[in-house]
Amino acid sequence: MWRAFRRSKKDRCSGTRGALSGYVDGRLNPEEEARIEEHLNTCRGCREDLESLRATVALLRHLPEVMPSRSFALAPVKSLPWRTVLPGLRFATAAAVLLLAAAFAVDWSGAFEGGIVFNPRYDSDALGIWGAGTSEEGDSYWVVAGVENNIDVVSQTRVELVVPDGTDNVSVAVDSVAGDGVVYGAMKSVPGGVPQLVLTKDGNEVGTWGEVKAYSMVSASDVEPDRYATNDTETMGSILYAIMKEQDGAYLNMVPASSDNNLLYSFNLGEAKREVKPADNDDWLLALEYGLIALVAFLGSATAALWLRQRRARAAEANKG
């Protein structure tokens, strides 16, 4: 019986001790509180427990207040450079790469290369015209397109040349497929007579003309027989170039010497037109390409550097966080 009494007292003590914390704070309901107080009246151990708990709480409550040595207010975060710059830089790099690719493509297409460029619309082969265009790139001389003909090249063939700009400097270029090299033809003025066409090759008059495929440039309605020519190849080239280029609808005529201004062949230049360009004018393209390569290198390395910096900063932030 004594043991049973002791056990029940032990249980009561244990129950009381579990509730003492709430009792100290006055957080028990009235019945619980009454039960605890009843036990406390009879149990010295639990009473001392209560006192020690109260002392503990009092000790905690009377701890000195601690003061931070600084403020924890947040400073506005300055947006880090790469957050704003990097996307723009990436975009600029991509744009520069695309521009460079476009410049390469244009270069590759040869759109700005010099020399004779056949106009595919007026391809002489397609028109059944014997094409004789030849030129060394960058030179100003060139050869007019013509047709195969049956002129007796041994005899003094006379071709009249009339240049619409009204100057006396007229010329014609002749191409020969008979031998190597280009044969030039120039009108030679004959005092009191009809100008003659003289063909030269490598600066020498060609005795045998071979198959002459060079012709006068005339406007069909504008033949003036007493014009004469020059053999200045530079002038010749530029004049013919001008005619070919600008005289849309002009005719390319061949007039044999044996006849009096009889038209042997006549072609509408509008159909057979070719474009001749001066020397390569793609220096700017080259400069653009070099510039773009430099720009891509610069932007690319700047992007890479910023990207690395951002990665490092993030890693540092992650470490810190």
Partner: protein, 189 residues
């Protein structure tokens, strides 16, 4: 402006309003952090981290006690800080965590006793589990109600009671052992 207005403005991105809230609660948050960690530097770091976190998550605050919300974030920041310290322990050279309040009536001897006692209490706190320590710090040191503690700890009132009970009992035993509370209590316990 009251807290609610400041919170609303903060949620709309107004840092000045948020900083006003920081000024209102930083002493309390720092106090909790210091009692949790027992080190001024760690407490400052945890407090700063807590306010950073609060600013980042201010939109998630959906009413209730802002104080409890801030303290919950602070307690979490303290736990993170403890983990970090465990990974990379630093030796703190500061042993005087608080400036002696200018008590003209207090003698140097009294001050020394009080300081020693406070240090023992602080050491006792670090022997508690994280949950018990949070409950004791919030309730007994910061003076929060059971309800506020439950909100800050995200648990029920019953859990608060039992954590508090176990924490206090554990501390009481420690204080008795350290002779911070009277010796005869130890004998009669």
């Amino acid at each position: 402006m009251d807290d609610i207005e400041l919170i609303r403005a903060s949620q709309n991105g107004d840092l000045d309003s948020f900083n006003e809230l920081v000024r209102r609660y930083q002493k309390m948050a720092y106090g909790v952090a210091f009692r949790m960690l027992g080190d001024t530097q760690a407490a400052e770091d945890a407090t700063q981290e807590a306010f950073f976190s609060a600013w980042r998550n201010i939109r998630r605050f959906r009413g209730g006690s802002f104080k409890a919300w801030v303290l919950q974030i602070t307690a979490n920041a303290c736990r993170d800080q403890l983990r970090r310290l465990k990974r990379r322990p630093v030796v703190s050279l500061e042993s005087l965590p608080y400036d002696p309040p200018s008590m003209s009536t207090e003698s140097p001897e009294d001050y020394a006793v009080r300081k020693e006692m406070a240090e023992h209490v602080q050491t006792g706190l670090t022997t508690l589990s994280h949950e018990q320590r949070v409950a004791v710090v919030l309730c007994d040191i910061q003076g929060l109600s059971y309800e506020e503690v439950a909100e800050a700890m995200g648990c029920s009132l019953g859990t608060v009671k039992s954590r508090l009970n176990r924490g206090r009992t554990h501390l009481r035993d420690y204080f008795v052992k350290m002779e911070l509370i009277s010796i005869e209590l130890r004998h009669n316990k």
